[in-house]
């Protein structure tokens, strides 16, 4: 399979390229980015051919593109790729606005082109075990879920992460979507209402919120809360984590998505947690490749990405209004 990289703004692209370069069955055709300096640096570091434009890259013939541009550029990139019948694995969140996200999903659907959202946590073994246990009725009917996807401020990965236009927001945009997606999958129910409180007190110098607490009510009546705060100091031994607790009638399930970590203390770096768990990026890319190859749905579709984006955007509306808001601003047909 011929694969192209579109945008190297998101640091996850480094993990994706190492997953791709280790494979016999794919050819990384090249990379493009709107920032020529960044493009040259990245292409040189990973020994990947650089293309001056998205058009040049697609003209070289690719079947799958991995989009890691700034979030507000996702829609432009994805719509052009889809128009060229190139399948897409798009970094989360899908877009900074609902119209962009909706158009991306609609156009991919119309063209019969694969659009996958980069939600690697769907491939986490503990998440899969939790899903199977819940589906098997091990904790009975679900009452409530409390989730935390807290991390460091991602500005060290690029200033655009804390830019209200390029990222579309701060902690809420960055960290709400993963858990929303997992909760939708685990509950097999869609979110209907959102309440959120946000704060800038963790980093008052930023133009975006650094802390957020989001309560999401699902169609089946379950309420889940998400702490999406950038509450981990730069000196924290790891970037952050993803945990949630599902309260069921027959028991409680406590899930830690990143428990496979060594504690490493060195004179040089102090104490760090070093992941030794399953490479989720690799699994997600395997899945996207298989989806394109066999024309089946990826584990996380564009529509899944759209739902998660809707909740993040609803959280901003709620925080602004200090009131619960409907996830769907107006009823949509799907």
């Amino acid at each position: 399979m011929r694969i192209g990289i579109v945008g190297v703004a998101h640091h996850h692209v480094d993990g994706y390229i190492s997953a791709l370069l280790g494979r016999e069955d794919v050819e990384v055709v090249g990379v493009t980015d709107h920032d020529p300096h960044r493009l040259r640096e990245w292409a040189g570091r990973h020994h990947v051919t650089l293309f001056p434009s998205l058009g040049a890259l697609t003209a070289a013939g690719i079947q799958l593109a991995i989009v890691c541009s700034e979030t507000n550029r996702h829609a432009g990139d994805v719509l052009r790729l889809v128009a060229s019948s190139v399948g897409v694995l798009c970094e989360k969140p899908l877009a900074t606005g609902i119209n962009d996200a909706t158009a991306m999903v609609a156009e991919a659907e119309r063209g019969g082109v694969t659009l996958a959202t980069a939600f690697p946590m769907r491939h986490s073994p503990v998440v899969v075990d939790a899903r199977d246990a819940m589906a098997g009725g091990e904790i009975g009917s679900v009452l409530a879920i409390s989730g935390v996807n807290a991390g460091q401020v991602p500005e060290t990965h690029g200033s655009w992460f804390v830019d209200p236009v390029e990222a579309g927001g701060g902690a809420v945009m960055d960290h709400t979507v993963h858990l929303v997606d997992l909760f939708r999958m685990l509950l097999d129910s869609d979110p209907v209402e959102v309440y959120a409180e946000t704060t800038d007190r963790l980093r008052p110098d930023l133009a975006v919120e650094s802390g957020g607490l989001v309560a999401v009510t699902f169609d089946n009546g379950v309420t889940a809360t998400i702490d999406c705060s950038w509450s981990r100091p730069t000196t924290y031994p790891t970037w952050g984590g993803l945990t949630f607790e599902v309260v069921g009638e027959q028991g409680v399930m406590v899930v830690d998505g990143f428990s496979d970590r060594l504690t490493v203390t060195s004179e040089r770096y102090g104490t760090r947690l070093v992941d030794f768990g399953v490479d989720l990026d690799r699994r997600m890319i395997d899945d996207a490749i298989a989806a394109v190859r066999t024309s089946r749905s990826p584990a996380a579709t564009g529509l899944d990405g759209l739902w998660a984006t809707r909740v993040a955007l609803a959280a901003y509306r709620s925080a602004a209004d200090a009131a619960p808001v409907a996830v769907l601003e107006s009823p949509v047909a799907e």
Binding site: S141, L143, A144, S146, V148, A150, Y195, E197, T198, T199, D200, R201, L202, R203, P204, S210, G211, G212, L213, A215, T217, V222, T223, T225, D227, S229, S231, R232, P233, T235, Y236, E245, V247, E249, G251, V252, A322, A323, P324
Partner: protein
């Protein structure tokens, strides 16, 4: 204070109202603090004979009888009965220690505070979490400025529903349910650390068990997430806290590695009323009562102000109201800060 022959101060004469779980705990703590349990008023309580005989205290037929024999009344009865006892004790000029929550409603709590203020007696409310060494050390760490300005708090308190003879807990009209009985600990702690609360959003998921979330907005702009549950499996009591600030983060949890781990085939029988795991040499209940005893002897100001105990009831009431209407509830900032 009268003095005994050995030169030490005479023990305070304590009258406990109630003979259940918390009365037993407080009785032990009063003794440990060197005070004297002289009377117990708990008509019809199964625990009364044992408690009275252990401490040589007189079971009194009426509250009046108890009030006539004591310096301090310790209210350890179900929440909905607090106000009546407090009013009678204040009228009699007795200092009062009252188990949390201060009262069943904001109206009752307000009357309790006003009566005690008029009578010039102490009203010391048992927000015992402030005496847990992990929680109090975290508060002191924040006060030292080590984590900068507090931005986001997470406070969890998840356990099973009280059982045995303690059926009043399940009666929301009497106990206020998981919000007023359990979440109030973390409501009080959140306000102790991050200041008054101006807006509250609550979700209560009570089907077969009572479980509640709250999102609080503090006047400072800080936000808090609280989860209190009586829906966890029998025997479980998990507490967790996370305080994040502009310069750092404090995390602690009952799940942390313990100094002593006992690996046994069975955890044994769970107590009918769940009790949070404690750390440290002294039970936090003892620390709290020792502190109250010092305050009553004129040594220092109470760690828990009665107005703060009232504010905690007010926030819990707002959480419950929000949970029932589905809308956030704004609290009068001035009132919240009183």
């Amino acid at each position: 204070m009268t003095r005994l022959e050995d030169g030490g101060p005479a023990p305070l004469r304590i009258g406990v109202v109630g003979a259940g779980n918390m009365a037993t705990t407080h009785a032990e703590a009063w003794e440990a603090a060197g005070e004297k349990l002289v009377a117990i008023h708990a008509p019809d309580s199964l625990g009364l004979p044992r408690l009275a005989s252990v401490y040589g205290a007189e079971p009194t037929a009426t509250l009046c009888d108890l009030l006539s024999q004591v310096d301090v009344v310790d209210v350890c009865t179900p929440t909905d009965t607090h106000l009546g006892t407090i009013l009678a004790a204040a009228e009699a000029g007795r200092h009062i220690v009252c188990e949390k929550p201060l009262a069943r409603t904001v109206g009752e709590a307000t009357r309790a505070v006003e009566a005690c203020s008029r009578a010039g007696v102490r009203l010391l409310v048992g927000h015992v979490v402030r005496f847990f060494p992990d929680y109090s050390t975290a508060k002191a760490t924040v006060e030292r400025g080590e984590i900068g300005e507090v931005g986001v708090l997470r406070l969890d308190r998840c356990t099973y529903a009280p059982g045995g003879d303690n059926t009043w807990f399940a009666d929301r009209a009497r106990s206020g349910g998981v919000i007023l009985d359990l979440m109030i600990h973390d409501v009080d702690y959140a306000m102790w650390v991050a200041g008054p609360v101006v807006r509250v959003f609550g979700r209560r998921l009570a089907r077969w068990a009572d479980d509640a979330f709250a999102i609080l907005r503090h006047a400072s702009g800080a936000i808090s997430h609280l989860h209190a549950s009586w829906a966890y499996p029998t025997g479980v009591f998990r507490t967790r806290a996370e305080i994040s600030g502009s310069q750092g983060l404090i995390e602690f949890s009952s799940d942390r590695p313990r100094g002593l781990v006992h690996l046994a085939p069975s955890a044994g029988e769970a107590p009918p009323v769940p009790r949070p795991p404690t750390a440290g040499l002294e039970s936090p209940y003892h620390t709290q009562i020792r502190h109250f005893s010092q305050v009553l002897r004129g040594q220092g100001e109470p760690r828990v102000d009665a107005m703060e105990a009232l504010a905690a009831v007010a926030v819990c009431e707002a959480v419950a109201e929000s949970a029932s209407t589905g809308r956030p509830v704004s609290l009068d900032e001035a009132e919240a800060a009183r």
